[in-house]
Symmetry: none
Subunit: 120 residues, 4 copies
Amino acid sequence: MIHIDFRDPRPIYEQVYDALRNLIVSGVLAPGEKLPSVRELASTLAINPNTIQRAYRELESDGYLCSVPGKGSFASGSDAARSAHRRELLDRFCALAEELRAAGVSDENMIRAIRGGERT
Amino acid sequence: MIHIDFRDPRPIYEQVYDALRNLIVSGVLAPGEKLPSVRELASTLAINPNTIQRAYRELESDGYLCSVPGKGSFASGSDAARSAHRRELLDRFCALAEELRAAGVSDENMIRAIRGGERT
Amino acid sequence: MIHIDFRDPRPIYEQVYDALRNLIVSGVLAPGEKLPSVRELASTLAINPNTIQRAYRELESDGYLCSVPGKGSFASGSDAARSAHRRELLDRFCALAEELRAAGVSDENMIRAIRGGERT
Amino acid sequence: MIHIDFRDPRPIYEQVYDALRNLIVSGVLAPGEKLPSVRELASTLAINPNTIQRAYRELESDGYLCSVPGKGSFASGSDAARSAHRRELLDRFCALAEELRAAGVSDENMIRAIRGGERT
DNA sequence: GTGGTCTAGACCACG
DNA sequence: GTGGTCTAGACCACA
């Protein structure tokens, strides 16, 4: 379900965060669907429960899921969360486009890169 | 010449690295031009010389810089370095475009974001 | 009759407690009126009976409720309970007003917030 | 400087959070001023460093301070943070006023409570 | 069983 | 020295 790369310099809790967020915003985890419990996911991924919990906590504070003590954690899947995610990606996208322009890449080349994926 | 933001979560050596690399690939520092010495730049920016040293070291190992022991460091305006930089930016750009597409953003909206900066 | 929000971070027994207490102090449940049984309310709300039990227990110990073994639970519309509730709310209200004052909000702005709801 | 009540049901990290936030928004900790290090505050309060760090992390994510790896943590003191705090207090204030009104307390009585502090 | 807090102690990157 | 991540294991309240 989720793959963690221990050689990735990014912290583990962040990898878990991203993976779960993607599952939620993409709809693989339907709104209201129950996520694996902290302990369960921890033992599945062979990761300390505290690390998983941190990912869950941040997902909750960002509105991607909802933890109910004693019951479990549930995907939020709110449209607000989804559009917030889009917005964040677009911001990074524009910043990168700015850098590319500064590096001398024309808008046409960027558009070609988007369309074709031919990165020559 | 360079501005360091202590509030930026990125490590300082990385900020210095980016700033100098941008000056080099943009041509502000002409090929072969001498850069300030490590100690000089360190005192100018009020930063630990070790930090500057690391930025210089990585710039050299990435081919943006050429250090001559006893003489100083010189900008290497090689086209290879410049195009490598562009290549790296374009790769990240395409990856982001892929993510945006997965998030339901159309190519047209991305192009509009690049062009107008109107992030609707 | 009662609405439980599973997204609410507050424990469920507390939500039930508050909801019933409000019904009692507002007079919707007249003094002496019989409340639904624990099991009945639990099945209505699809909640564990233990959770309802706890809410009832605390309501009784706070004087809002009167349980008669074998007969049921009855609203205790005593003025004492009502004014105790008001007293508790007023205490929290004054404490908050104190904090607001410390944060630089004038009494006039607080009064305006109470009256108009315009939170400028 | 800070007092922690171990008998308080609220989590310790939250008590630390509130205490530091108050010091910052009240200006006791001037903008840019260095806060005690995580380890230092932890040993001063006889609390585990992880607990302090969580408070610091949340303060940073809420914009009240700025942590620089290797250098320390610094009060932000931005006006934005201060007004965000006021806004949050005012929201709770209005919600409480609503509850009081539902409990049968007149606006005049609330205003009297604010002004005089006579909670009779 | 669940989520949540806390501790103790280790390790890392940064300056 | 600093902040940051991670682990291991304990305890609590809630359902």
